[in-house]
């Protein structure tokens, strides 16, 4: 399977590391032989139609930016759209930084891939938060797959769990902690009795929070995940502006102490049911399975037959997210294999 990687940040590097490993192992049981044929970054690209070897991928990582300076396969100045259009591949892996104002350039990368008949795996929440119904329709229309399990739960397969393991059951509601940074801050505040600002500073020091932390603490990140779950699992056609969102800036030690007296604590919960989806700090019992501490994520699916099912795991992290990309690639591979073997008339090139 030939792959174009768009974006070479932390996740992009994680993807090359994991795929280089799999390429070396050839993962015989899955028959999965991933080849990265191009990596496009902001300043240009490295392109080798035969696939960049694991040694080459390592060399690129060691050498650092700009990656297009590679003496063998570097193409300085070429932009990602041109790469997506001109390099032959089955899949585009889109891992550029999130932008929730316009979702660019990711949304252009994804639509260009669709139009040139390439499947897309993305870990980028921006395009999905702003245009998920449009993108899923466009993928279907172009007869390609769009996969994004890295966007929710990171390494924890929340989307697949709901879609596959709960197939046939009716999911009535989804509630969860979808953001590790805010969960770390709230855990710090309640367990160590520190104020919001101190807890935030500590999260920043540990690299959990960005210097500009609004995306996390104002609930945007959680809201993006609520949009994705609503569309993918619940079949609602919503975007970011349809989510009622409150962040954790106004949570004080006092509120937490009072909740503790009742045996409860406060968590930033994303919630989807028959009402308008919400993201807001919510008091929950310390004994509830959702009540996880530190940077962990958790989700509870309330279903008609199976009752409540809770999944706990690590959210963000470059290797965890890259692992989710690998899962998506395997899923696409299986779907393509079935499609190629079971259709009589369709031609795919």
């Amino acid at each position: 399977m030939r792959i174009i990687l768009v974006g070479y940040g932390v996740v992009g590097k994680g993807v090359t590391t994991i795929l280089a490993q799999k390429y070396a192992e050839k993962v015989k049981d899955y028959g999965f032989n991933p080849k990265i044929v191009a990596i496009a970054d902001i300043d240009g690209a490295v392109i080798n139609p035969r696939g960049l070897s694991p040694e080459k991928l390592e060399a690129i990582k060691q050498k650092g930016y700009p990656i297009s300076a590679d003496p063998e396969f570097g193409n300085p100045g070429i932009n990602a759209l041109e790469v997506i259009e001109s390099v032959e591949a089955e899949v585009v892996v889109e891992v550029t930084p999130v932008n929730i104002q316009t979702a660019e350039p990711a949304i252009s990368h994804i639509t260009k891939a669709f139009k040139t008949g390439k499947h897309v795996v993305t870990t980028n929440k921006g395009p999905l938060a702003l245009a998920m119904p449009a993108l899923t329709e466009l993928a279907e229309y172009n007869n390609v797959y769009l996969r994004f399990s890295g966007t929710v739960g990171g390494g924890t397969p929340m989307l697949e769990f709901a879609k596959r393991c709960l197939a046939g059951d009716r999911i009535k509601a989804i509630r969860g902690i979808f953001n590790g940074t805010t969960n770390y801050i709230l855990t710090e505040m309640s367990q160590n009795q520190v104020g919001f600002q101190d807890a935030l500073a500590s999260a920043q020091k540990l690299g959990y929070a960005e210097r500009e932390p609004s995306m996390d603490i104002d609930g945007f990140d959680t809201a993006c995940k609520v949009v994705i779950l609503s569309n993918w699992i619940m079949g609602k056609k919503i975007t970011l502006k349809d989510v009622d969102r409150t962040g954790i800036r106004d949570i004080t030690l006092q509120t937490l102490t009072e909740a503790a007296k009742r045996g409860n604590t406060i968590k930033l919960i994303g919630s989807i049911d028959d009402n308008k989806p919400t993201v807001k700090p919510t008091e929950i019992a310390k004994t509830h399975p959702l009540c996880v501490s530190g940077v962990l994520n958790a989700v509870t699916f309330s279903t008609e037959y199976a009752g409540e099912q809770t999944l706990v795991g690590r959210g963000a992290g470059s290797i965890e997210t890259a692992g989710a990309v690998l899962r998506d690639l395997l899923d696409i591979k299986h779907k393509l294999a079935n499609r190629m073997l079971n259709s009589n008339s369709e031609s795919y090139k």
Binding site: F32, N33, A337, L341, S347
Partner: protein, 469 residues
């Protein structure tokens, strides 16, 4: 004799060449032959038309104007070189200007709509021949010979509506062509017909695609019941091998349609096999001749191989830019339909398999495909067929290979040909990667590393004494 003569792009590459071609046609006409002429576009023109139509699709209006100006200049130059009479010059220039004005309108139309359909692309491409045929016509007229020019459509060639790759409705075409061109031949008027282009039954311009003007000439040859179709080109005929590889390569005086078809695949400067279709059915001989060396009688392609020929092997050729694909899988052994799955996946992804070899063990298949499709082939085979429980366990490839083919109808039933070939190659210390021989025994093909290709061709050429008369 009744002859259809086709002149390719280099034969009509310049005004001087066209003048030469007109001289040749006149000469043969004076020798009491009845001649119909088929012409290609001037060298390079068809490609530039395709390029421009793509630019037009991207709404590059400026480029169109520059292009049509250059195109007019190119053809005007050719007209002035090819034709001496100023009256005829003027007449041809008028036709050319009118045609180019029409072309410009169409290109601008494409520009505005931003869409290039196969139908409009055929129409644009048709201008290459529509511009060259009047010049050849003018040059023949300039030799005081009676002549008349036709588009393929006006000559009566009717095809299906498969734009870009149309096939003739042969019986209908024969009916119309006889009605329109035969009376001219009887009056010794030379029809000059545009190659490559025709029309469907509604009169919409089509092109015959692969085989091009050669195809037009064989269609006309059959329709007019010609004695021979002459393909004029810039080589003496079909050679025993590429003279660039073996300087002692000699011209073959006669070949069968089947042999020529085998050779054409290897680009032996012969014809596209598709063009041989109509003539081989109707048994009209084809002769490949050199415009620069008309004394040479060229290579004659007929139904039967030369009756008295003793050579077992007639020619050896090399096919480059290919890759070898090896598919392994113990699960393929004894499993009906497993090969079909492999070829099905390749077919669905638009990959043509050129050569196949499979061991009786059934555990592996080797294939030759075009080198630039290798990545797509490997990737899709792995995706579709390689997984737990899938039929293939591994796909490997070698992209530095070449196919060598030895060709000759008399190899059929001859003993020891293969052993002679392979021991000669082995003596050079060259390893053979893959072998295939169809049961027709016309062709033994095998694969070696591309770097050894030249040496192998030379060795076989020598081993079978192909250079000796």
């Amino acid at each position: 004799m009744k002859l259809v003569m086709k002149f390719g792009g280099t034969s009509v590459g310049s005004g001087v060449n066209i003048r030469h071609v007109a001289g040749l046609v006149t000469k043969y006409a004076k020798e009491n032959n009845k001649i119909a002429v088929v012409v290609s576009a001037l060298a390079g023109v068809t490609n530039s038309l395709i390029e421009t139509s793509f630019r037009a699709q991207k709404s590059d209006e400026k480029y169109i104007q520059t292009f049509t100006k250059t195109l007019l200049a190119k053809h005007t130059d050719a007209i002035k070189e090819a034709i001496t009479s100023e009256i005829i010059q003027k007449e041809v220039i008028e036709i050319t200007e009118k045609n180019i004005a029409e072309l410009e309108k169409i290109l601008i139309g494409i520009c505005y709509i931003g869409e290039l359909t196969p139908k409009s692309k055929d129409y644009v491409m048709s201008f290459g021949e529509r511009l060259s045929a009047p010049i050849v016509w003018g040059a023949i007229k300039d030799h005081s010979t009676q002549t008349q020019w036709f588009t393929g459509k006006d000559a009566g060639i009717v095809t299906d509506s498969n734009f870009g790759d149309a096939d003739p409705l042969m019986n209908y075409t024969t009916h119309l062509v006889r009605e329109r061109l035969e009376p001219l031949l009887e009056r010794n008027i030379i029809p000059v017909v545009t190659g490559f282009i025709a029309a469907n039954q509604d009169g919409i311009v089509t092109t015959v695609g692969r085989g091009g003007s050669d195809y037009t000439s064989t269609i006309l040859g059959v329709a007019l019941q010609a004695d021979e179709v002459w393909i004029w080109t810039d080589v003496d005929g079909i050679m025993t091998t590429d003279p660039k590889i073996v300087p002692t390569a000699k011209m073959l005086s006669q070949l069968s349609y089947k042999e020529a078809t085998e050779m054409a695949i290897f680009g032996a400067k012969a014809m596209h096999p598709r063009a041989l279709g109509p003539v081989s059915k109707a048994n009209v001989p084809v002769r490949i001749r050199n415009t620069n060396n008309p004394e040479n009688s060229g290579t004659l392609i007929t139904k039967e191989p030369q009756a008295d020929a003793k050579e077992v092997t007639k020619a050896v050729a090399m096919l480059k830019d290919v890759a070898m694909l090896n598919v392994y899988g113990a699960a393929m052994v004894g499993a009906p339909g497993s090969y079909a799955k492999v070829f099905d996946v390749l077919g669905k992804n638009g990959i043509n398999v050129m050569m196949i070899s499979a061991a009786a063990s059934e555990a592996n298949i080797s294939m030759i495909i075009k080198r630039d499709l290798l990545g797509r082939a490997i990737s899709n085979l792995e995706i579709a067929l390689q997984e737990h429980g899938g039929i293939i366990s591994e796909v490997t490839a070698e992209d530095d290979v070449a196919v060598i083919a030895t060709i000759g109808a008399n190899m059929k039933g001859a003993l020891g040909v293969a052993s002679k070939i392979f021991s000669a190659v082995a003596k050079k210390g060259i390893n053979i990667r893959m072998i295939a021989q169809g049961s027709s025994e016309l062709n033994i093909s095998f694969v070696v590393k591309e770097k050894d290709g030249t040496a192998v061709v030379q060795t076989i050429h020598e081993e079978f004494n192909l250079g000796k008369q």
